[in-house]
Assembly symmetry: C2
Homo-oligomer: 286 residues x 2
């Protein structure tokens, strides 16, 4: 079983750009990759507020809508019209108490929302968002369980770890990194794949706003697709449940099975940083 995911390393569209621009971009991706079953865009792809992007709080506040507002309704109709899964980057969400969230969403080919995820680690001090609280995974028929994370989340291994623990076999990391630490993020993306034995898709914005360097890593850290510069480009990723399940069953490099570590009778590993523990009875994934 597999799914062809097309990830767009593109510069963000202006907040007030005509909707046709995004619709045309989606259609063009599917014309180029007719078997594409999911389209993925970078963080804040529909929310550029200048050139270069300035991430102004006021512009975000004005653009924010609740998730049942017209923007997401339009995106749902777009996904249904195209008949594909759509991860349109993130949107500025107005929360129930007026909070501003940086929220990723995954929309099904029938136009229903499969998952929403509010970024837990906004990049401070620049981002004005309230941190989210909850991890999000969703099931894609034929392609296993996926998890959502956003940009700076990848600097916290806790995010990928919890997504994998919740069953994610593929993690989609939508990114808008404009700073020179994008090479570090590539290291962490690959490591997040290896330690969790998941596939990890990291799609960044293109120049002149973003630093590019999008990539799709397999569960042993192998590079399955990549864009080596910051130019606009599509990246075609074959998401396979078999790849992850084989790595977990046979081991990374044929030998190492971190998800099968514990034996019956092992004590929990107490983790003082979290006031929690790795509980053997709730951990092994084999």
């Amino acid at each position: 079983m597999s799914l062809t995911v097309v990830a767009s390393q593109a510069a963000p569209l202006a907040i007030d750009a005509p909707r046709e621009l995004f619709e045309q971009a989606c259609s063009a991706m599917l014309t180029k990759t007719p078997d594409g079953g999911m389209l993925v865009f970078p963080e804040m792809h529909l929310f550029a507020d200048g050139q270069p992007d300035r991430a102004r709080t006021k512009a975000y506040q004005q653009a924010a809508e609740p998730l049942d507002g017209p923007r997401v309704t339009w995106l749902r109709q777009l996904a249904a019209g195209l008949g594909v899964w759509l991860v349109p980057g993130t949107v500025c969400e107005r929360g129930p108490s007026g909070e501003l969230f940086n929220t990723a969403l995954a929309i099904r080919p029938d136009g229903e929302v499969a998952a929403t995820y509010r970024k837990i680690f906004p990049w401070r001090p620049l981002e004005p968002f309230t941190p989210g609280q909850d991890f999000a995974v969703f099931d894609v028929p034929g392609a296993g369980r996926m998890g959502l994370c956003i940009c700076f989340d990848s600097w916290f291994p806790e995010v990928s770890r919890n997504l994998a623990w919740l069953g994610a076999e593929t993690i989609i990391n939508v990114v808008k990194t404009t700073t020179p630490d994008r090479p570090q993020e590539m290291v962490m993306a690959r490591a997040n794949a290896i330690v969790n034995q998941v596939s990890f898709l990291s799609v960044n914005a293109a120049a002149p706003v973003g630093r590019g360097l999008s990539a799709f890593f397999g569960p042993e850290g192998e590079t399955l697709a990549e864009i080596g510069d910051d130019a606009p480009a599509d990246m075609v990723c074959e998401v396979s449940t078999q790849r992850v399940r084989r790595a977990r069953a046979e081991g990374t490099a044929g030998v190492t099975r971190p998800w099968a570590f514990f034996h019956s009778g092992d004590q929990p590993v107490e983790l003082p940083a979290y006031g929690g523990r790795i509980d053997p009875t709730r951990w092994n994934r084999d």
Copy 2:
């Protein structure tokens, strides 16, 4: 402030090798690097049981001693005689209930033991050790706080995370990786450095037993020293508190400060995988 650490990518010595072989190796390292203040050896460096090494449970059981036994007493005398810090890889420790532990230790230049650490994640199924329970950090005058971890521990980001949370600025990872997943470990070592903004020293055994590829990464993931193959070699590492503290103060690539993420009033991040949380009041390190 800094400390010159000399790490030996060497093949392990046989369990019954004359003690002079190890003493001579230490002396030779200091002859070559006279300002060396700490000597570090790979995991199980004094415990080869054949060629190639077979990690036989019986050989380990026979060699195991409590930490107040003659082997550690000899190592303490050796460190004191040389007047250097000594991390002699790991030893087979016989626990108080007869358990077999894979235990790292750091010995001070006065011959006192600064820290002991029982490997929490023995590489299963090959290793016969009982997992340890506790993280270990220790303070080195002039070189800040260090933490110990052992080989497969590096596949669990929880280990480096907890060492950093306990204040470690440098993590010493002693390794005996004989399998083809050593390149993956290099990715994880670098990522462990970046996400925690620590220096990370990973020293593996040399051929014909180990796969080599030892390296010393700085807190932004930069390569400060490395051995690019599996040949026996010394690696000289300048451990600087200033480097870590500057990265945390000014940010990775001058911009990103993960240890300064939280604001007052932020809610804890609940982590279902651990039944714990990141508590803002106990987290920031700036």
